[in-house]
Symmetry: C2
Subunit: 548 residues, 2 copies
Amino acid sequence: MAQTRVLQPADNAYQYPLLIKRLLMSGPRYNPDQQIVDSNRGSYSYRELVERIHRLANALTEAGVQAGDTVAVMDWDTPRYLECFFAVPMIGAVLHTVNVRLSPDQIVYTMNHAEDDVVLVHDDFLPIIEGVKSDIETVKTWIQLTDNDQPGQTSLDTAGEYEALLAGADDHFDFPDFDENSVATTFYTTGTTGNPKGVYFSHRQLVLHTLAISGAVAAFDEMPLLRSSSVYMPLTPMFHVHAWGVPYAATMLGVKQIYPGRYEPELLVELIREHGVTFSHCVPTVMQLILATEGVKSADLSNWHVLIGGSALTRGLCKAGAEHGVRMYTGYGMSETCPLLSTTHLKPEDLELPPEQQIGQRVKTGIAVPMVELEIVDPDGQPVPHDGEAKGEVVARAPWLTENYFKQPDKGEELWQGGWLHTGDVASMEPDNTLTIKDRIKDVIKTGGEWLSSLDLENLISQHPAVAATAVVGVPDEKWGERPYALITLKPDENIGEDDIREHLQGFVDRGDINKWAIPEQMRFVEDIPKTSVGKINKKLIRDQIND
Amino acid sequence: MAQTRVLQPADNAYQYPLLIKRLLMSGPRYNPDQQIVDSNRGSYSYRELVERIHRLANALTEAGVQAGDTVAVMDWDTPRYLECFFAVPMIGAVLHTVNVRLSPDQIVYTMNHAEDDVVLVHDDFLPIIEGVKSDIETVKTWIQLTDNDQPGQTSLDTAGEYEALLAGADDHFDFPDFDENSVATTFYTTGTTGNPKGVYFSHRQLVLHTLAISGAVAAFDEMPLLRSSSVYMPLTPMFHVHAWGVPYAATMLGVKQIYPGRYEPELLVELIREHGVTFSHCVPTVMQLILATEGVKSADLSNWHVLIGGSALTRGLCKAGAEHGVRMYTGYGMSETCPLLSTTHLKPEDLELPPEQQIGQRVKTGIAVPMVELEIVDPDGQPVPHDGEAKGEVVARAPWLTENYFKQPDKGEELWQGGWLHTGDVASMEPDNTLTIKDRIKDVIKTGGEWLSSLDLENLISQHPAVAATAVVGVPDEKWGERPYALITLKPDENIGEDDIREHLQGFVDRGDINKWAIPEQMRFVEDIPKTSVGKINKKLIRDQIND
């Protein structure tokens, strides 16, 4: 270790810990009258946001919450949730954002595993909790959330309803300083096998992630995601990696925020129109639902910029959005990475191209954002060439990666290898540092000694004008090891067959884009592609169904 | 202290220290062919910047530099200096940016006080060093910097010339990780009394300052200072608070950078035109010199945004710039604060006003930037009302304030009081959180029991169309305690008298802007206003001259 001149963390005030409460200072200071909109309950100002966060801190404290406790939330996307994003960690407690799409058994598992002390639960989820209550081990207090004038009936013995508790609480809380490495949030990843695994992030990590995404990324002319004039509406759930951390950044900058509650596609389009939303982020599935609405046909979406993540942005989806004026960018990250690692990077020369020709750049995984290191490595952990062809596992270093899986230190040894977080994604990297995710390591189709990317194949199939969505998995094959198998859903009123798909793919073979052996012999037309609780294609389930 | 759940800084890699080397990753990754221009020596790419930083690290190591050593630089504003901004702290050494405008005695004082081990010195400063060499105590190695093909002759025994050393050095250096609280930079403040005082900043502090200024500030539509399409040219010297830290931010974002060498006003205008500079920062004096050039008359400066700091931006200067299309903003900070604390904040409704009517907002000290707390306090440290009238001393908290004055812990007790850094500035704050600096505490004119701001008075006098510059100080008065005294320089070919100034000020009295007793009885028309080495008005010297 180099013998540098090190400042000792002294008692004096120059030590200024990176705490989430610091993120709440500037937005209300820049723009106290800026609005935060609840699609169910009207809107209020940043000034009121601050006051409500103070009231919530007092209400939680009165409900027995202490620093170090865990407070869970089961809610739709609401300003209430935003208030919890701040108030819970600001009193030193840990915010557990419960994935409400998990099965009741899995929800119980995560609550017990996280050792939740207090749970804030929306009327809509009361039946779930009432059904599993006897299995819940650590929760001492329930607080009810409602969107109606009267809270729903419940057999739970609650400490009261959220709005009533806030109304009765003092409007000033003296938020303490503490160690910036204190855990602020936790939530559970939704793997397709085994129990969900808990990741967790410290105040320091969330502050640094916020500074980086609000700042360094915002500075790029070609991707005006968060500016003072932006109108922001999250479309990845707030329980999922803090809605990608964007609510923290939007609040720090004093940006107008729209919270849609439940994701009802026609309502979402109406909110985008009514409030002139300029920036959202979502998984491809949500975008597909929005583009399939009636409302979208008459909406002007040419100011709407959308960061797509969770699954790959396909050319087909990017093109379909562009026809409505929607500008999409790829964001890459995962629950373990807080999440942002990379984004689309459009160079000035790309922006001069017509929208159609920009798609090639937009669907790439992009370039690592400031403060992030990405590398692609072979199974021995050695970097593979950045030639746009060689594939390797994506590994990352950054100041905002989870330390481990909560109470599963053995899993951490797989996650962290050789000083890098291993993502489980396979990618190539171009000489200009642009990453393109090719597949999950476990979804790569190993056929005839080659690695065939299931995502590449999905991309090509999705470009057929009759195709609405597709999923490709590898299935065992005696001769080749594995062969690709395609599930396909067609657009309404379309009626094509396997030969049309093969002919479509043959076109790419003829142009040299893929090899002949990439064309699947087997495919099936289906009504729906199986998805996980967060909207990703559930390839494990598809493989299991095919193998059965 | 709240009992939060604290992550232990473990050996594992999730701990990612905030080191200056992290700031060098993304710019070259986004834009390896982006140019960095040396007005004397042509340009090179970000790719070459990285290579040269590696070579410099090897050259310094070969010259004996170790982690913990101090490396001083005496240079004009050049890409070489930018290379030192990175390479010196990246090897764990401390970069001392020598204020070359100090007297030779003061330069020796700072070199001895900082305990410089190695000094990189430009030809132009060799005579200074040669003249005081026998007084320099700790320097073991000199490295010569030159802008000519042949280095200047010197009696110093140098280790060689910079370019020759780089050419002979290996192009790969394995930059180590170390504690983010390691000191990265140091420099000396230029007070008007006593010896210069050393401030110092850690890697962590500089990384956080960079993220905040490149990020949160860049996100504001109304102040497009650093965007991917920006062209940046510093106009506050690189020895002065790292050119306000902007070169770090510009490099992180991959922005085109222009280094002007010496500040020759006609050359500066030519560089702005030639390269289409969009963003600079400077003290008012430099802007005055630029606006007084011949070249400016035919230049289109309507894309040039300039952050003004160091001294107050006067209405007169802001207006003079606006006539050439220059958009100026106020930035507030000081050597002790790394420096940024606040900037002009133009609200959407301000931007709809004609340029003339925006001046009122632009000359205000602005609103604290994200992660910064500003307060105004009375002599007991209690906050005074935010009513736009009450005056108090500005105090600050932020993650990038100097811990102390180097080797002068007693001075630190004055700097840090009650957990806040005391700036020595007097300001009022409006209900919307906008700060307006009224004066330095020691420059406030205490007349008849009231505090009269010398800056307010300068602002009003400067609005007379014949006035080029002015300085107002308090002079002792038997009856009133103190009375204002104005020094005034006139524009070329102007010829007005004291009565014209008083008549001009009477207009403000009639409109209720100031009290009758604010009009100075005493004034003097002069050729030049005395300035400090960094271009600030030297009020101490003025008072001393008047009192003599």
